[in-house]
């Protein structure tokens, strides 16, 4: 194993993944640079979401999954047997296509992770209040919601729900945030707001976003990965990929010939 480079927060080496007999990822190798947004593009069924879900090993909840290779996050191969999944998922949070707030209050949604990861008696009220305020300020919802913390999270607008789902990860102090088409359920304004939020979060977190929307990949990401049929075709700076892709398949996808 090569020494992990401090500039990269995620190193993937020869990673393959099978659902039963079907090989969904084929010898994927990549490095995700710390503190930037990387986007993952490609046609449906190319393994984007599977790759994303491999980084917090949530795939294993969806069926019969076998893997080979290495994924190193924070200098630890997360596929090792001694990795604690709750601890891994604390560091690697995930945001979904459809906002999925829990049917409890806004306040409870945000401290849900804290409650999961600490004993009841160790959580002090002041600590929780502070965590809620910090998280909501980071996602720019505090001013809108500070008087409504007791309201049900499912009653918020979709845009606010999605921001709340991002805020929910923050009290756990993750290093990496995975986003699976986080704007596909939102309207134009919602998309813009969430994109701005992602950019502002990028300084503190490594963000990996799966998107179907190539314009979005262009707008928000510094690096871009193009995938096809379970393989990484091209991984480069975003401008490079969109302006002068090296691979013929990338060119064709970006020009909209398929996918």
């Amino acid at each position: 194993m090569s020494e992990p480079d401090p500039n990269y927060s995620v190193n993937v080496r020869d990673f393959s993944l099978w659902y039963g007999d079907f090989q969904a990822l084929k010898n994927v190798s990549l490095n995700l640079r710390d503190g930037i947004i990387t986007s993952l593009i490609g046609p449906s069924g190319c393994g984007k979401t599977t790759l994303l879900r491999s980084f917090n090993r949530i795939n294993e909840r969806y069926g019969n999954v076998t893997t080979s290779g290495e994924i190193t996050i924070l200098e630890k191969n997360i596929l090792d047997a001694d990795v604690s999944l709750p601890e891994l998922r604390k560091s690697v949070g995930m945001v979904f296509q459809r906002p999925n707030p829990l049917p409890v209050s806004i306040y409870e949604n945000i401290i849900f992770g804290l409650r999961i990861h600490s004993d009841r008696k160790d959580l002090r009220r002041s600590e929780m209040d502070e965590a809620v305020e910090t998280a909501l300020r980071q996602v720019r919802l505090w001013d809108d919601l500070k008087d409504k913390l007791k309201n049900r999270a499912t009653s918020l607008q979709l845009e606010q729900q999605q921001k709340l789902c991002i805020a929910r990860l923050l009290p756990l102090k993750p290093r990496i945030i995975l986003m699976d088409e986080p704007c596909s359920a939102l309207d134009v304004d919602g998309t813009r707001a969430v994109e701005e939020l992602m950019v502002s979060l990028a300084d503190d977190y490594t963000i990996l976003i799966v998107t179907h929307n190539m314009a979005q990949a262009r707008r928000v990401s510094q690096e871009c990965i193009f995938m096809l049929l379970g393989e990484i075709i091209e991984h480069d700076r975003t401008e490079q990929i969109f302006l002068s892709p090296r691979n013929q398949k990338t060119t064709e996808y970006i020009e909209g010939r398929y996918g």
Binding site: R89, G93, L102, P103
Partner: protein, 294 residues
């Protein structure tokens, strides 16, 4: 322009006929129900009263009330529920949330499914063999409740599994992704959001248990037991008891000279109990639904 063609007229006729047939079938279901209930209440009216429920039978069950049978049914159902509900609900949680997809799980699911279809008389014989004779409980409320529990719990498992499946997957995903264990997910999100469905399933099963005669006939119910009217401490778990369904059977077929109104009134009480319990289930569900909404 836009005039009805022959074709459209034919289609309209077919439409009306279809609607009529479906309405007719619905009425075929509802009318007998109304007729049965109406007939029962009409026939029972001479003796039906609160006293009829609260009094003990007199003159060899030819007069008086049905308290021992009513209370016996309450006891049987109560004990069977406190046995079957925890076992059924927890087993369902395991099968739905934990069990890996393999031949063992499939077998258990198949067994549960089939167990739900076993006729009650078979359960009765099993109860007689297993609880009354083998376990040495004798004919008792405990043995009868266990038999009822065995009979009801596959259905509780099935209904609980359905309620668990109705909890949106996104809630679970939200939990997994902050690193919740399965148990934390179940306790924090899955159970609170499926309580209403689970409770409804249990209560509906209670109703079925209350009406069954066969399983208790061999295992704990008796023709007659001398009990003071309104005595709620009449039965201990190891006693035999009377039960409404059995009492109805007895006074309709085994005892000569029972005034006609008494069996009818007994039937009304049995039916009324079931309706009250059902109504409770509905009210409970509505209350919990309005509090837990997604």
């Amino acid at each position: 322009m836009f005039q009805e063609t022959q074709h459209v007229k034919r289609k309209k006729r077919a439409e009306r006929t279809a609607q009529g047939v479906f309405l007719g079938m619905t009425l075929c279901m509802v009318l007998p129900l109304i007729a049965v209930v109406g007939f029962l209440i009409y026939k029972a009216s001479p003796v039906l009263s609160i006293d009829f429920i609260m009094d003990a039978p007199e003159r060899g069950m030819r007069a008086g009330g049905i308290w021992p049978a009513f209370w016996g049914t309450v006891c049987l159902v109560f004990f069977s529920v406190i046995i079957a509900a925890p076992v059924g609900v927890l087993a369902a949680v395991y099968l739905h949330e934990y069990a890996p997809e393999n031949w063992f799980t499939r077998m258990v699911n198949l067994a549960v499914f089939n167990l739900a279809g076993v006729p009650s008389i078979v359960h009765a014989l099993f109860g007689l063999g297993a609880f009354v004779l083998f376990a040495g409980l004798g004919k008792s409320i405990l043995a009868a409740s266990l038999t009822l529990a065995i009979m009801t719990f596959p259905v509780i498992i099935e209904s609980t599994k359905e309620s668990l499946a109705a909890v949106p997957r996104s809630f679970r995903e939200a939990c997994w992704n902050v690193g919740a264990t399965r148990w934390q997910t179940i306790r924090g999100v899955v159970l609170p959001n499926s309580t209403s469905g689970i409770l409804t399933g249990i209560i509906l099963e209670v109703c079925r248990a209350a009406g069954e005669t066969a399983p208790i006939m061999f295992t704990g119910a008796v023709f007659f037991k001398a009990v003071q009217g309104g005595d709620v401490f009449a039965y201990g778990p190891m006693d035999q008891c009377m039960a409404l369904s059995m009492h109805l059977h007895t006074i309709s077929t085994q005892v000569p000279g029972v005034p006609e109104a008494i069996p009818f009134a007994t039937a009304v009480v049995l039916l009324g109990t079931v309706l009250v319990v059902n109504a409770t289930a509905i009210v409970l569900r509505v209350i919990i639904r309005t509090r837990k909404k997604w």
